[in-house]
């Protein structure tokens, strides 16, 4: 080979990716051509210099606070098991007075949850643990946990009231209510699991909010039946 090696061939020699025959011819040329040998050496020196370039470059100091704020706003938190129901909540189970209170609770809880769902979730939120179903260990975003606080309190109060009103309901009504509650709880669990996989999905948040509203409405209607 009398012609000089092309730039591509030189690179392929350095990278050792030439086919065996081509590599043999290139090496033979390099052994006899000072020009190509010099170009190859320059390339190798440059690449060695590049290889010694700093593997790490310190990032700007403000990068971590921004990362932290973002992950705090998206953070998911565990849900622990359910503690015993507080008997004191049964005080709400007293006829029409309870019904009016329950209706107000439903309205406030549902409204605040929906508001929280649709608002821009850019503010960091403190970690929290929320207990829902016995033995549940699923997780939800902090934004949802915050929104759930009022919902969970309402469910607690309505559940206690319904439990107190239980003697006034027929066995058939109790069976239907419990079956529907189980279905809604399963839907909540499913929505939470989906949110865990995709915490920023607002559609899923709205689905979860709708399921919460269903549960509150069912509890409210069941309690109304007991007092009508």
């Amino acid at each position: 080979m009398n012609e000089h090696l092309t730039w591509e061939d030189l690179n392929d020699v350095v990278d050792d990716v030439l086919a065996p025959d081509d590599a043999m011819r290139a090496r033979a040329h390099l052994a006899s051509c000072a020009h190509c040998s010099h170009r190859r050496a320059e390339l190798e020196v440059t690449l060695a210099e590049v290889a010694r370039a700093a593997r790490e470059i310190p990032p700007p100091a403000e990068a971590w606070p921004a990362v932290r704020a973002e992950i705090e706003s998206r953070k998911v938190v565990p849900l622990a098991g359910m503690p015993a129901r507080r008997a004191s909540m049964a005080r709400f189970a007293s006829g029409r007075r309870w019904t009016l209170v329950a209706a107000g609770i439903v309205l406030v809880a549902a409204s605040s949850f929906v508001t929280a769902v649709v608002m821009d979730r850019t503010q960091p939120a403190a970690p929290a643990t929320v207990a829902v179903d016995p033995g549940a260990t699923i997780t939800v975003p902090v934004a949802v946990v915050d929104a759930e606080r009022s919902y969970l309190a309402s469910v607690q109060e309505l559940s206690a009231a319904l439990e107190a009103a239980r003697p006034h309901l027929s066995a058939q009504t109790i069976e239907i209510v419990e079956r529907n509650l189980a279905l809604i709880d399963a839907a909540i669990t499913e929505s939470r699991a989906a949110l865990l996989r995709d915490p920023g999905n607002r559609v899923l948040l709205e689905v979860l909010a709708g399921t919460y509203r269903q549960k509150l409405e069912l509890l409210r209607r069941a309690a109304q039946l007991a007092t009508s």
Binding site: A54, I57, A63, K75, A131
Partner: protein, 195 residues
């Protein structure tokens, strides 16, 4: 029926400085931000170097760095520990940078808009101490000044050690194109360095 009190999570103890990546990942998975910060402190220099060199822009690199670590936080569950955490992290970093580059190209944005424009990737700021060293500044500036497509291939191959076929797969281009970009990048780099 359901009963639902709300209680705060106890603050976890700070991780010991010599705790391994695996233990820190496990703690971070449980929501321990302090453990995640230790992981960040250990690895962000390398991640930032990849982002800076591949994007050629310090402000863009900072955005990419933040994006990478937010994604890492969200995807910690998918890290199975089959490879080293740093390997998983660097792969994720490259994927984030390339995905963002493609998205920006689709939007006709600043990053990668003009793949053959040698001025498209000027390093606006070193972003750290490395560039304070004279010859390294020359080298980093020369890398940053490469055309975006060639620069990405060059960084992946000659700095990060990816093979031609891996780069072709990651960038969705033919292996021959990757080699051509690499050869071009080296030629331009040597010219910029006066060789």
């Amino acid at each position: 029926m359901t009963s639902v009190p709300v209680s705060p999570v106890a603050t976890p103890p700070p991780p010991p400085p010599d705790e391994g990546d695996g233990e820190l990942v496990a703690r971070a998975r449980r929501g321990d931000v302090e453990a995640f910060e230790v992981l960040y402190r250990r690895t962000s220099g390398r991640v930032y170097a990849i982002c800076l060199r591949m994007s050629g822009d310090a402000e863009r690199a900072k955005e990419l760095l933040q994006d990478v670590f937010v994604r890492v936080w969200e995807r910690l569950e998918s890290f199975r520990g089959e490879a080293a955490f740093t390997s998983w992290l660097h792969r994720l970093t490259v994927n984030v940078v390339l995905a963002q580059s493609r998205a920006d190209q689709r939007r006709g944005n600043r990053f990668g808009t003009l793949p053959d424009d040698p001025d498209a990737g000027r390093l606006s700021d070193s972003g750290g101490g490395a560039a304070s060293i004279g010859h390294r500044l020359d080298l980093e500036s020369a890398i940053a000044a490469l055309p975006p497509g060639a620069r990405k291939v060059f960084v992946l191959h000659d700095i990060e050690g990816f093979r031609h076929e891996e780069i072709a797969r990651l960038t969705g281009t033919a292996e021959g194109t990757v080699r051509a970009q690499l050869h071009r990048a080296r030629k331009l780099l040597m010219e910029a360095l006066g060789r």
